[in-house]
Symmetry: C2
């Protein structure tokens, strides 16, 4: 693995400034350098929660998941969390029995330091696959982490979980829950091996809203559909993709009611805020795709269904030929046609229209005679490219985010492990 | 489009020498420079056949096929061909009504020059998508082509149909059909936008064996499964993929019987020879993948079925992270695990074994403790890399070919159209 990702050339698509991250009552964070793989940077994060905190999670659909994913899956049903431990540098994936022992040991160390049961500790690991994770290294830092955990450490937390990320990913939103103010904070890390489902390797959201685990799970599962699951960097799904949501319930003190069902109408604002936080984190993941120089938004409309539109949009978003063309500033709409055609979904060439930004380059199955190459060439120089495809068949619409494929992606991934 | 592909740096994976291409009785070839897009190179090929020649074809499954694909599909059922016209430089895809007119005009020009009906002319075009094809340019060369067509022009033919190919792709095999000698020649072009199904943009095979169209079609459809359909360069399926087979029947004069059914036992040698020709052409396509520096063979065994093994093999073959790692000489088996996991097919992490060449790097769900990094690093320096994955679940086995993903691929495709 190349050195600490944060030391690399920063993505040109990095957001202009970090968001304000308020405290989330009951959530405390601390990070440290355990020396898992990197030298001179933090690589372990501990987050602690008060008793009664709800937890929900969405995980990779990989048939070869990591040991921490299996650990979380086995415990998410109980719905209660007191701690989260995340390390970078080693994914603890494809590590067999050793990997399971490492998760057990990590959870026991954290449980002892925090004062809870190991089953209330949730785990995530990111980094190289197939190397044993030496969980013993956490022993030296866990008590210090628990003792030093504080409400403000959001940026440190986001940095500790990064690998080839070039900037920390944070988002925050506020909502009112039956008149009481509640908050949602989130952190995430990318930056390669990013594809649905899930779209990011690791993301964590935290709220003070009082929501029971089952409702939190339903809210989370719904919110990923058009956020993390609508982002793809390279079509490669990680063994470790993990999204966990923690709800401390501390806002009850300010009058927030306890929410028992995801269909509760009082959740309207919260649902929207959760979508905003996940959407922002997912976009930041695309903005920090390995080697990315352009953020690509793909909108497909007029498909026979949303599902069909999603499949076509992903076919475009994952096409190496589309991604290299955008990277080269080439409005190569022929490759968009190719990607629509290979998706296998209903499409009628002679009804197809394609736009780059506001410029329609193809209409009803042929080049739009009115478009000016110079205008579209100027548009393609931007850092943010929007591609819109209208199929003219029905009302199905979808949007996904991706990034271009560059020589830097090849360079980063040609010498990642060695 | 960058200039004539043949002028580029030649792939390091190019076969050491061109195969001997015998005459195929009845088949005559000629190429010329019609000035479709390139300057100073041939870009149109005419092949003529005697009366009674059978034709069969397999085409792209793209929902947005090119005009020539639609032309051929509409006429392949009649099973008879007198001429084949192929141009490079323009794919005549997504060209609407103009595209249909261009195919009609091309077929009429060729029919007039050859002395047949337009419906007996088969067409293929490769090159840029979405630009009108000026078929009028063929008018100036068609009679000269028909007059000059000769049996020996195989290398010229293969060169005329190339785009970003860096070497001409030819293959030949001989077989005995009920004691009589028959021959099969084939030519193909790659080199990007290559994925099942079909795996190549254009390939043509020619035989003097007397085989009726229906039997030829069945033979061809079966032969592509483990040849062209088992090759992927970048997972992008072209709008133009076309494989046509022509059987002149001229070997009847040497005593070859007319074959009416693909199940005829006398076809055993022919079937094997056809498989060899298609297999060789498909491998040459992989060897000339855009920017390729390494040929990658992926063998998956122990899957629940051949179909499942194919899906897993393609997941590995199309993974940008696997392809960049191989390009960088990194035996990153963790990414193989990732690609197995994301295929969505039955796989049990704890039974998985992975080899690079003869070196087992992972066994039963963990790193193989006996493998020596130095040995595998030395293996990865080769031009031909074999990756084998054993799932330990059943008897399903499959093999696909691919190539690595390099900065040159990005460079070639970042400025293809402009």
């Amino acid at each position: 693995m190349r050195g600490p990702g944060m030391g690399k050339a920063v993505s040109p698509l990095k957001p202009a400034h970090l968001p304000q991250m308020p405290d989330i009552a009951g959530v405390r964070l601390a990070s440290a350098a355990a020396g898992i793989r990197y030298a001179g940077r933090s690589d372990v994060l501990l987050v602690t929660f008060p008793k009664g905190t709800s937890v929900a999670g969405v995980f990779t659909r990989s048939k070869c998941p990591s040991a921490p994913v299996e650990w979380c899956r086995a415990r998410i049903g109980a719905g209660r969390a007191r701690a989260l431990v995340v390390n970078s540098g080693n994914a603890n994936a494809f590590t067999g029995k050793t990997g399971r022992q490492a998760t057990q040991m990590t959870a026991e160390l954290a449980a002892k330091a925090v004062g809870c049961r190991p089953a209330e500790v949730f785990l995530a690991s990111t980094g190289v696959i197939g190397e044993p994770l030496d969980a013993g290294k956490f022993a030296g830092v866990m008590h210090e982490l628990a003792a030093g955990a504080a409400p403000q450490r959001w940026v440190d937390a986001a940095e500790a979980i990064g690998t080839t990320d070039t900037f920390p990913k944070l988002a925050s939103a506020a909502a009112r829950l039956a008149g009481a103010a509640v908050r949602i904070n989130g952190i995430a890390k990318g930056a390669g091996m990013i594809a649905p489902d899930m779209a990011t390797m690791l993301a964590f959201v935290f709220t003070d809203a009082p929501i029971v685990p089952g409702a939190l799970q339903a809210l989370l599962a719904r919110a990923v559909v058009d956020t993390f699951n609508a982002v793809t960097i390279d079509g490669d799904t990680s063994t470790s993709d993990t999204l966990l949501a923690f709800a401390t319930g501390a806002a009850a003190a300010a009058g927030a009611p306890t929410i028992a069902r995801a269909s509760d109408r009082r959740l309207a604002e919260f649902r929207s805020a959760l979508q905003d936080v996940l959407g922002s984190l997912a976009e930041q993941v695309a903005r920090d795709g390995e080697g990315a120089s352009k953020l690509i938004e793909i909108v497909v409309e007029g498909a026979v269904s949303k599902r069909s539109a999603r499949k076509i949009a992903l076919s475009i978003a994952n096409s190496p030929l589309v991604k290299t063309a955008v990277g080269g500033g080439d409005a190569n709409w022929g490759r968009i046609v190719m990607a629509v055609g290979k998706a296998g979904e209903p499409a009628d060439r002679d009804r197809l229209s394609i736009w780059f930004g506001d410029i329609r380059v193809a209409h009803k199955g042929a080049r739009d005679p009115s478009y000016v190459e110079r205008d579209v060439a100027a548009y393609m120089k931007r850092h943010e490219i929007s591609i819109r495809v209208a199929l003219g068949l029905g009302g199905g619409r979808d949007r996904v985010l991706s990034c271009d494929l560059t020589k830097e992606y090849v360079a980063i991934n040609g010498d990642y492990r060695s």
